[in-house]
Point group: C2
Chain length 401, copies 2
C-alpha cells in the first residue's frame, strides 16, 4: 500500500520550497518602525562617523609628548587655553604647553593628540597639572573610526535588531527601504476539524493548526490571511486555493489527518500548479507536500499539530525566509548532554521533542498528535538521516523554540 | 572627584529596578492576535483532550488479545464490522472476532483496545487478516492523554509561542486574557544631540539612543512614546518627565554623555520622585540611574549607544519583563571557546562584545561609543564581578543578541 510516490530527503524538500519562493518587493518605512523588518538594500554611511576627533572621557586635551614622565610627584604643567562645550565644537587650536578641557563626546582641538582623564589632573587657576602620561591617540576616537564614508553599516537581508536600528540612526536614515511583509494564506482542511469556538463531538478536533500556522508566520515576520476550514470536497479546496494564489505570496494547507484527505490536497495542488515533493524522509512530518499553486509556493502540512509544527520549522521556515529576503540566522541552539537513548531509523531525519535543564536534554517520547509535549518541550533534537539515534551521555545540539 | 555617591553591584541595581515595576493590567484579545502577548491567567483545559479514544494510525481497531501469535504465515482473522468516518465518531461497538477500519484521528470503537496498522493488514471481502500482534493500547490515545479537564495548558506569565497559541486553540480559547502592552516613555537629553534627519556639526551626534531604546522596547513587547530631544535645562527635562509619568508605565532617559548632563538627569529624577541607584559596578554602563518619577520606574542610561545597550539588556530588560508580567526566559546563550584573553577588573561586571563563529568567541575590544562593534558583535560575554577576566581557551557562555 504505497502512500507516497517517492520520499525525498529533507535537504531536497527544503531546496524545492526555497526554489519556489520569489522574494517580495520593498517599501519605505520610517526608521522608528523599522525594527524587525528585513533591510532591502545595503545601508552605507553618508559621511565619516563620528566625523570629528571625539574624546571618550571627561578630561584635558594635550600633546602626549608633553606628558612623558609625568607622575604625582612631578606632574606636567599646562596652561588651560579654554573649554570645549558639548555640541559646540572646538573653536581654537592648542600651542605648545597648552591644554583644553573636553567633556566626554566633545571635540578634541587641533594641536592635541590625546586626552588626559580628569581623574589624573588638577586645576589650579588657569594651570592644569597632569600626573600620568598619556599615549598618542589615547582616549579619543578618530573621525572615521566608527564608520568611514561609504562603508556598509548594515547589509541588505538583515532582519533589523535594535542595535542595527541604532546604527541606521547614526548614519541619518530617517526612512528605510525594507522588504514588504510577505502575506501567507492559511487553509485548514478536514471533515473532522471544527472551529475553535465549537465544542468538538466525538472524533472531531478543534482547528489547532490554523492558529499554529498563523502564529508561526507572524513570528517569522509575515502577515497572514485565513481562508477558513474547508470540507473534504475537491471543488471547495480548489476555489480557496485559487483565491489565495491571487491574494498571497505563499499558502500553507493544513491537511486532514487521514490518507484520503491528504491525497485530496496533493491532487488539488497538482491541478492548480505542480507537486514537487509528496513525502519527506522526516519524522514526524512524512506526509508533507511541497508544490506551487499558480506562481506561489504551497506547502501541505500533516494534520497532527506536533507533526505540522516540525514541518513549519524545518520546511516552511526556510521558505518564508526566502520570500522575505531574510538572511539573518536567529536560530537558538543549546548544547546539552542526553540523559536517555534516542533510537532512530537510519535514512530519515528524526526530530525528537526534548526538555533542556541544567545542560541535560531529556527526550519526550510523546505519541504524535499530542499537543502537551509541544508545550512542555524546550526544543527539538535533530537526528540526521545517517545516524541510528543517539545514546545516553552523547553531547547533542538542541534547536530551541 | 567623586562622580557617584556609591556604586552598587549589578544584582542590587536589577532588584531595585524590578522592585519599582508594578505589573500592568490585563485585556482580552482574539486568539489569532495573542501570539507574543503575555498570558494574564492560567489557561486550563475545558474538557478532557482529545475527549475520545483516538487512533494515531490508519488501521483496524481490534482486541489485542485476539492478535497474539499473528504472523505473515498464520495471520489472525477478523470480520469487518464497519468503518469509522472522520468527524463522525464510532456508532457501533465490536464483539469477539470483529474489527473496524479507523482512519488516523478517528474514534476507536468500544470493545477494541488497540489498532493494527493497515501496513500489517489485508482486506479480503468482509474479512481482515492481521499479520502482526498489537499490544493493549497500541496506536491509540486515551481520552485525557493530551490534557485532563481542569489541567493547566499554559501557565500565566508566558509570552505566548506559536505552539502555546495552538494549545489554547485546542482547549477552545477564542478570546485570551493577556497583559496590556506596557507603554514606555523615551527621552533623549544632551545639547550635542541632533535629530536623525539633521546633518551633525562638529561635536554634535545624531540621536541614536532614542531609536535604540524604542526598538529594544518593541522587541520586549512594549509600546513606546517618544518625548523628543530635551536640551540640558532643568525645567525642560522636568516638564517632559512629569508628562511621561502621567502617560507611561516607565520612562527611559538617555543621558547626555558628559558628567554635567548626567547629574542633571539624576537631580531631576530625585526632584520628581526618588533616585535609588546612581552608579553601577558595571562596564560599560557605570553612570546609570535607577529611580522613579511619581509612581513609575525611571532608568537613566549612559549617552554612548554601546554603553546604553548594555544597560538596556542588563537593567532595563528585567524591569520591562516585570512590568509586562512576563516570566518567560527566551535569552539566547551559546557556549564557546575564548580565543583571546579578556582582562577585567575584579569588583565590577564587565560585558565584552564578542563574535561567535564555529564555537569560538573573539572579543571586540572597541572603544566605548563606537557603534560598529555593536553591529559586528554576535553578543556579550559577561565577566562576573568576582573574576579578573578570562583566559584564552576558557569555555565561556555568550549572551547572544
Amino acid at each position: 500500500m504505497a502512500r507516497f510516490l517517492s520520499v525525498v530527503p529533507v535537504d531536497e524538500a527544503v531546496a524545492a520550497a526555497i526554489g519556489l519562493a520569489r522574494p517580495v518587493g520593498t517599501e519605505t518605512v520610517p526608521l522608528d518602525e523599522a525594527w524587525n523588518r528585513v533591510l532591502g538594500a545595503d545601508a552605507r554611511a553618508d559621511t565619516d562617523l563620528p566625523g570629528f576627533r571625539r574624546s571618550t572621557v571627561d578630561g584635558y586635551a594635550v600633546r602626549a609628548a608633553e606628558t612623558v614622565g609625568a607622575s604625582d610627584a612631578i606632574p606636567s604643567f599646562f596652561r588651560l587655553k579654554g573649554r570645549v562645550a558639548m555640541g559646540a565644537g572646538a573653536t581654537f587650536a592648542l600651542g605648545l604647553g597648552e591644554c583644553a578641557y573636553v567633556p566626554t563626546g566633545g571635540e578634541v582641538p587641533g594641536g592635541a593628540d590625546a586626552v588626559a582623564m580628569v581623574e589624573h589632573a588638577e586645576l589650579l587657576g588657569d594651570e592644569v597639572l597632569i600626573a600620568k602620561p598619556v599615549a598618542d591617540g589615547e582616549n579619543l576616537v578618530l573621525p572615521d573610526e566608527d564608520f568611514g564614508a561609504g562603508e556598509i553599516v548594515v547589509p541588505a537581508g538583515r532582519r533589523l535588531s535594535p542595535q542595527e536600528v541604532g546604527a541606521l540612526a547614526a548614519v541619518g536614515r530617517v526612512d528605510v527601504e525594507v522588504r514588504r511583509r510577505p502575506v501567507i494564506g492559511v487553509v485548514s482542511t478536514g471533515n473532522e476539524v471544527v472551529p475553535v469556538e465549537a465544542v468538538p463531538g466525538r472524533s472531531e478536533v478543534r482547528d489547532v493548526n490554523s492558529y499554529l500556522c498563523r502564529a508561526f508566520c507572524r513570528e517569522r515576520g509575515c502577515d497572514t490571511r485565513f481562508y477558513g476550514i474547508v470540507r473534504d470536497e475537491p471543488g471547495a479546496l480548489r476555489a480557496v486555493l485559487e483565491t489565495a494564489a491571487n491574494e498571497c505570496d505563499a499558502v500553507l494547507v493544513s491537511g486532514g489527518s487521514s490518507k484520503d484527505e491528504r491525497d485530496l490536497g496533493a491532487a488539488t495542488i497538482a491541478e492548480l500548479g505542480e507537486v514537487l515533493v509528496h513525502g519527506i524522509a522526516l519524522a514526524p512530518g512524512k506526509p508533507t507536500i511541497v508544490g506551487r499553486v499558480n506562481a506561489i509556493p504551497a506547502i501541505g502540512l500533516p494534520g497532527h499539530p506536533a507533526s505540522a509544527f516540525v514541518v513549519l520549522i524545518v520546511i516552511a521556515g526556510p521558505m518564508l525566509a526566502a520570500l522575505a529576503g531574510d538572511r539573518t540566522d536567529r536560530s537558538r541552539r543549546a548544547r546539552a548532554r542526553l540523559i536517555e537513548n534516542v533510537p532512530s531509523a537510519r535514512g530519515r531525519e528524526d526530530y525528537v521533542r526534548v526538555t533542556v535543564r541544567d545542560g541535560e536534554a531529556r527526550p519526550l517520547f510523546a505519541k504524535s498528535g499530542l499537543l502537551n509535549s509541544l508545550v512542555r518541550a524546550d526544543g527539538l533534537l535533530r537526528v540526521p538521516a545517517g545516524r541510528e539515534g543517539y545514546e545516553t551521555g552523547d553531547e547533542v545540539e538542541v534547536l530551541l523554540w
